[in-house]
C-alpha cells in the first residue's frame, strides 16, 4: 500500500507492506536510524517520535496509520544546524551515556515541554514515565529537561 508522510519537513511517498511499522519505515525505508528499537512492545520508549506533534512509540504505530501525517524524528529536531534546547540540555547536563535511549528520551521531553513549558521535577518524571534508561539513573536526564525548560525550549 502507498503511504504519504511528511518526515522532518520533507514529503515522502512509498509503497509499503500493510504490516510495516512506522519505526521500520523510518529506519529501513528512509534510513533514519536515529530512532531506535529497544523492546517492540511500547514500553521502553527508545522509538519515540512526534506524529502530528504528539509523542508516539513508533514500534507500535503502523506506517499506514501515519499516512497523511507529519512525523518529526530526532534527525529533524536541530534546525539550521542549531541544536534544539532539549538536545542542548542533554549535552550540558550529561543526560546520556550509551545514547541508545536518548533520541526517544529527547522526543518525549520535547512534547513534555510543549505541554508544560515550566515543569517541576515531578512533572518531568511523569512526562518521561514511558521512556526507560539503564545508564544514567535519570537524575541528569531530569536536569537536562529542566535546563531546556529554563532556556525556553519547546
Amino acid at each position: 500500500m502507498k503511504v504519504r508522510i511528511r518526515v522532518n519537513g520533507t514529503p515522502r511517498e512509498h509503497d509499503v507492506e500493510p504490516r510495516t511499522l512506522l519505526v521500520q519505515y523510518l529506519r529501513e525505508t528512509l534510513g533514519l536510524t536515529g530512532t531506535h528499537v529497544g523492546c517492540e512492545t511500547t514500553i521502553c520508549g527508545a522509538c519515540t517520535v512526534l506524529l502530528d506533534g504528539k509523542a508516539v512509540k513508533a514500534c507500535t504505530v503502523l506506517a499506514a496509520q501515519a499516512d497523511g501525517g507529519e512525523v518529526t524524528t530526532i534527525e529533524g529536531l536541530a534546525q539550521d544546524g542549531k541544536l534544539h534546547p532539549v538536545q542542548e540540555g542533554f549535552w550540558e547536563c550529561h543526560g546520556l551515556q550509551c545514547g541508545f535511549c536518548t533520541p526517544g528520551m529527547i522526543m518525549a521531553a520535547v512534547q513534555l515541554l510543549k505541554r508544560n513549558p515550566e515543569p517541576d521535577r515531578e512533572a518531568i518524571c511523569h512526562g518521561l514515565e514511558g521512556n526507560l534508561c539503564r545508564c544514567t539513573g535519570y537524575s541528569h536526564i531530569i536536569d537536562a529537561v529542566a535546563h531546556a525548560a529554563k532556556k525556553g525550549g519547546k
Partner: protein, 784 residues
C-alpha cells in the same frame, strides 16, 4: 606514591567537561549495529526452545525453506560440526559442565536455547519463517531451584554429567576455627541474592561480512569486548586471527551482559562465510531477557564471629551459586569474586567461603554490574547491621570499630588481597556531614514516636576495580594504548579499552591534551575496532581509565622522551639541555629558545632535518600491566519511610560519598555513580528474574521485569573524597560499579531499620511492596 593531580588553571583533567561523544548521539546520527546496512545483506532470526529441558524429537524445516525470500534454514546438525563450542575462559578445577554447542543438538537445556536459524532477504521474512519450522519436543522435568538441584534423586539439568554440581571451591584465610572459639556471639543469617537481568537498552546484535578474496572476516557486534571476541572467535569459525576484524560500533549499554562471546556471534560469522553474503542478526527484547546472561543468583549462609564490643573476628559462608544451563565466558568465576571481597572494608582476621556451583535449566549467569562484588558487599553490610542488632549496638559504632585506619594501608585482607589505599573514616565522616546525620537521628526518633516506620541505612563499602594484574586474569589483564601526533600536529589517541557509554572519548582526550599541552579539540580518541586498536582487553570491571588511561600516559611519555632529541637538533642545543613542559620543548639555559608540537611534528614526518639515528614519526604505543587492582570505597546513607498499609518504601534522603581516587572528569564520575545507584534501586525494590517450576521465564519483557523509571529515583546528594591509588600514575581507581556495590546494602539496611521496631530481622530482596507488606502483616500477628 602518586600525588593528587594538581591541575593547572587551564588544565582539562579534573574538570566536569561535557562529553565530546554526545553530539552524534543527541542528533541521532551515531551508528549502532542495527544501523548498519551492507550491500546484499541477509537477515538471520533464531528459533529458540520453548522448553527448559526437552528432547528435540524432530524438526521440520521444509515449509520455512520454501517461503519466498528465505535463503537458508539450518539446525544444529548442519552447523555444530563446522564451528567450535562456546568457550568459558574461567573453568574451575574438576568442573563438571556441558559442552556448549552453538545450536542445540537433540536436546534443549533452557528456555531460549537456540535450536535453528533462518536466513532471509528481509528481517520480517526471517521471522515469518520461524513460525513455519515445526519442532517437536518431549519435555523432561526441569531443574530450576539450585537447592533442590542438589537433593538426592533430583532431576538432572544435564543427565550426561551425572550430577547438577558444577564445582566446589573454597577460599580461606587466617585461623577461622580459632577465631570462632574466641567469639562472644555468632551471628547467622541466610541471604538470597536474587537473579537479575541486565537489560541494556540496546539488545545484542551483530553483522558479519566475509571477504572471500582476502579471506577476511569482519564482525560488527554490540559487545564490550571486541578484542576478547577477536581472541576467541577465530578458532571457532576457522579463520586466522590476523584475518579477523571485530568492530564494536556504538554500543547501547552493557553492564557486563556484553562481556562475552555468544553463540549468535559465532553463528552469524559462520553464516556469512557459508553463504558468501553479509548477515545481520538483531536480538529482540524477549530474546535478550531469555538468552543474554543474567546476574547474581547466589544463596549464602553466613556466620560471623563477634566480640561483645562489636569487634568482628571472622566470617564463614556456604554459598550456592546458580550457573544456569551453560557456562558463558566468566560464569564460574563470579562467586569467587564474592569470596575475595567478603570481608568488605573491615579488619577481619579470618574468613572461609565454600562455594557450591550448580547447573540448572536456566540462562547462564555471568558478570552483571559488580559481578560477585555486590553479593559480597550486600552480605557483609547486612551482617554488620545484624551484628549491631544482635549485640544491641549502633551499626555506626560497629563499623567504626572495625574499619582499618588510613595508616594501615596498604591493607592486607584475610582473603589475600592488598587494598591499595584508603581513608574509610574520611568518606564516612563526609557522608554523615552531607546527610546531616544528627538531624536524621532526631528525625527518626520523632517519626518513630509518631508511629511511623522510619529507617536509616548505612553502607561503608570497598570494591575491587581495575581488573587486573594478568596473573589473576584469565587471559591478560593489561591494557594497550597508542598515541600519534599527526603530521599536522593533531593528536590521535587509540585505546584498546573499548568504552561504550562511559565517556573515555572525553576523559582520555582530557588526559592527553593536558600532557601534550594541546587544545582538547585537537585530540581524537578512537576505540572499538580491532583494525584500529590493535590490542586491547576492553571494558569491564571498572578498568578502562586506570589501566587504559595509563597506557595512554605511558605512550605520551615515550613520545616526549623521543622528541627531546629532535627538539635539541632543531634548537641547536644538546638533548640534555632540553626540558619539556606541556606543549613546549625548550633549552633550559635559554628558555626562550623553544619549539612546539606543530613544528616538531612536521619535521618528524617530513624528515629532512632529523638528527642521526632519529626514527621518523611521532607515535608510541604501550601495554600497561597493573601491579595491583584498585580498591575504591565510600559510604552511602539512606533515609526511608515505609508505608505500613502498602509496604511501599519512600526514599526521603539519599547521600553517597565515593572515593575513586583522582577524578579525570567529575561530571562523568557523578553519572556513573547515579547510574549505578539506579541499578541498586532496581535490585532492592523491584527486579527479580523469575522462572516457574517448569523453567519458563516469567519475567521475559519489560512488562514483567520492572526496571526503575524516572519517577523511582530520589534526589541524590553525592560527594566524594580523593585518595589516589598508588597502582597507576594517574592515581585513579574506577567508578563504573561503585554505585551498584555501595548502594544496595544502604537501601536494604534503611528498610530493615524502618521495620526493626516490628521485630523484622531480615527480608530477602527485592523488597517489593508486597513482600514488605506481608512481613509487616506477619509481624503484627497474621492477617488483619
Amino acid at each position: 606514591m602518586p600525588k593528587t593531580k594538581e591541575s593547572a588553571p587551564k588544565g582539562y583533567v579534573g574538570r566536569p567537561l561535557k562529553r565530546v561523544e554526545d553530539p552524534r548521539l543527541i542528533k541521532g546520527i551515531a551508528t549502532y549495529v542495527d544501523d548498519l546496512a551492507l550491500p546484499g545483506m541477509l537477515h538471520a532470526a533464531v528459533l529458540r526452545s520453548p522448553h527448559a529441558h526437552a528432547k528435540l524429537k524432530s524438526i521440520k524445516i521444509d515449509d520455512a525453506r520454501k517461503l519466498p525470500g528465505v535463503v537458508a534454514v539450518l539446525t544444529g546438525a548442519d552447523v555444530n560440526d563446522k564451528v567450535g563450542s562456546i568457550p568459558c575462559a574461567a573453568p574451575m578445577p574438576d568442573q563438571k559442565s556441558p559442552q556448549h554447542s552453538v545450536l542445540a543438538g537433540n536436546r534443549v537445556y533452557f528456555v531460549g536455547h537456540p535450536v535453528a536459524v533462518v536466513v532471509a532477504k528481509e528481517r520480517a521474512i526471517a521471522r515469518d519463517a520461524l513460525d513455519l519450522i515445526e519442532a517437536d519436543y518431549d519435555a523432561f522435568p526441569a531443574v530450576t531451584d539450585m537447592e533442590k538441584a542438589l537433593e538426592k534423586n533430583a532431576p538432572l539439568a544435564h543427565p550426561e554429567l551425572g550430577t547438577n554440581k558444577a564445582y566446589s571451591w573454597s577460599l580461606s584465610g587466617g585461623n577461622v576455627e580459632a577465631e570462632f572459639k574466641k567469639a562472644d556471639k555468632v551471628v547467622k543469617v541466610r541471604m538470597r541474592h536474587q537473579r537479575l537481568i541486565p537489560m541494556a537498552m540496546e539488545p545484542r546484535g551483530c553483522v558479519a561480512s566475509w571477504h572471500a578474496g582476502e579471506g577476511t572476516l569482519t564482525l560488527w557486534t554490540s559487545t564490550q569486548v571486541p578484542h576478547l571476541v577477536r581472541t576467541l572467535l577465530p578458532g571457532l569459525v576457522r579463520v586466522p586471527e590476523n584475518r579477523t576484524r571485530i568492530v564494536a560500533p556504538e554500543v547501547g549499554g552493557g553492564f557486563g551482559s556484553k562481556l562475552n562471546l555468544y553463540a549468535e556471534e559465532v553463528l552469524v560469522s559462520h553464516l556469512a562465510i557459508r553463504l558468501g553474503a553479509p548477515v545481520k542478526w538483531i536480538e529482540t527484547r524477549r530474546e535478550n531477557a531469555a538468552a543474554t546472561i543474567h546476574g547474581r543468583d547466589q544463596i549464602g549462609d553466613y556466620e560471623v564471629a563477634v566480640k561483645k564490643d562489636g569487634t568482628i573476628l571472622a566470617i564463614k559462608s556456604h554459598t550456592l551459586a546458580d550457573m544456569g544451563a551453560y557456562l558463558q565466558l566468566l560464569t564460574p568465576a563470579i562467586p569467587t569474586l564474592t569470596g575475595l571481597m567478603i570481608c568488605g572494608c573491615y579488619r577481619i582476621k579470618a574468613m572461609k567461603m565454600d562455594v557450591t556451583a550448580v547447573h540448572t535449566n536456566k540462562m547462564a549467569t555471568d558478570a552483571y554490574r559488580g559481578a560477585g562484588r555486590p553479593e559480597a558487599t550486600y552480605a557483609i553490610e547486612r551482617l554488620v547491621d545484624l551484628v549491631a542488632a544482635d549485640l544491641g549496638l549502633d551499626p555506626l559504632d560497629v563499623r567504626l570499630k572495625n574499619l582499618p585506619k588510613p595508616s594501615e594501608f596498604p591493607f592486607k585482607t584475610a582473603t589475600g588481597l592488598t587494598y591499595d589505599s584508603g581513608n574509610y573514616q574520611g568518606a564516612l565522616k563526609k557522608c554523615q556531614e552531607l546527610a546531616d546525620w544528627k538531624g536524621l537521628l532526631k528525625q527518626r526518633e520523632a517519626a518513630r514516636k509518631a508511629g511511623k516506620l522510619f529507617g536509616i541505612g548505612l553502607s561503608t563499602y570497598v570494591e575491587i576495580c581495575a581488573l587486573g594484574p594478568s596473573k589473576i586474569m584469565a587471559a591478560g589483564g593489561w591494557e594497550w594504548g597508542c598515541v600519534r601526533i599527526e603530521i599536522s600536529g593533531k593528536v590521535t589517541v587509540i585505546t584498546g579499552a573499548t568504552p561504550h557509554g562511559q565517556g573515555q572519548e572525553t576523559s582520555f582526550a582530557q588526559i592527553a591534551a593536558d600532557k601534550l599541552g594541546v587544545p582538547m579539540e585537537d585530540v581524537v580518541v578512537m576505540r572499538g575496532d580491532t583494525a584500529v586498536a590493535h590490542f586491547g582487553r576492553d571494558t569491564y570491571g571498572s578498568r578502562a581509565t586506570a589501566i587504559g588511561g595509563t597506557a595512554i600516559v605511558m605512550s605520551i611519555d615515550k613520545i616526549i622522551e623521543k622528541t627531546k632529541t629532535l627538539a635539541a637538533a632543531l634548537l641547536k642545543t644538546s638533548p640534555k639541555n632540553v626540558e619539556y613542559k606541556p606543549g613546549l620543548f625548550y633549552d633550559r639555559k635559554k628558555p626562550k629558545n623553544s619549539i612546539g608540537w606543530g613544528k616538531l611534528a612536521g619535521e618528524a614526518y617530513i624528515a629532512k632535518n632529523l638528527p642521526p639515528g632519529f626514527e621518523p614519526g611521532l607515535e608510541a604505543s604501550s601495554f600497561f600491566e597493573p601491579p595491583n587492582c584498585t580498591f575504591p570505597f565510600g559510604t552511602h546513607i539512606v533515609a526511608v519511610e515505609v508505608d505500613p498499609d502498602t509496604g511501599r518504601t519512600r526514599i526521603l534522603k539519599y547521600v553517597g560519598v565515593d572515593d575513586c581516587g583522582n577524578q579525570v572528569n567529575p561530571l562523568l564520575v557523578e553519572g556513573q555513580v547515579q547510574g549505578g545507584i539506579a541499578h541498586s534501586l532496581g535490585q532492592v525494590f523491584m527486579e527479580n528474574a523469575v522462572y516457574d517450576e517448569n523453567g519458563q521465564l516469567l519475567t521475559g519483557e519489560f512488562m514483567d521485569y520492572a526496571i526503575p523509571r524516572a519517577g523511582d529515583i530520589p534526589d541524590y546528594v553525592l560527594g566524594s573524597t580523593v585518595t589516589p591509588s598508588p597502582s597507576n600514575p594517574l592515581g585513579v581507581k574506577g567508578i563504573g560499579e561503585a554505585g551498584t556495590i555501595g548502594s544496595t546494602p544502604a537501601l536494604a539496611n534503611a528498610v530493615h531499620d524502618a521495620l526493626s521496631p516490628l521485630g523484622i530481622r531480615h527480608l530477602d530482596l527485592p523488597l517489593t511492596p508486597e513482600r514488605v507488606w506481608r512481613a509487616i502483616r506477619d509481624a503484627k500477628g497474621g492477617r488483619r
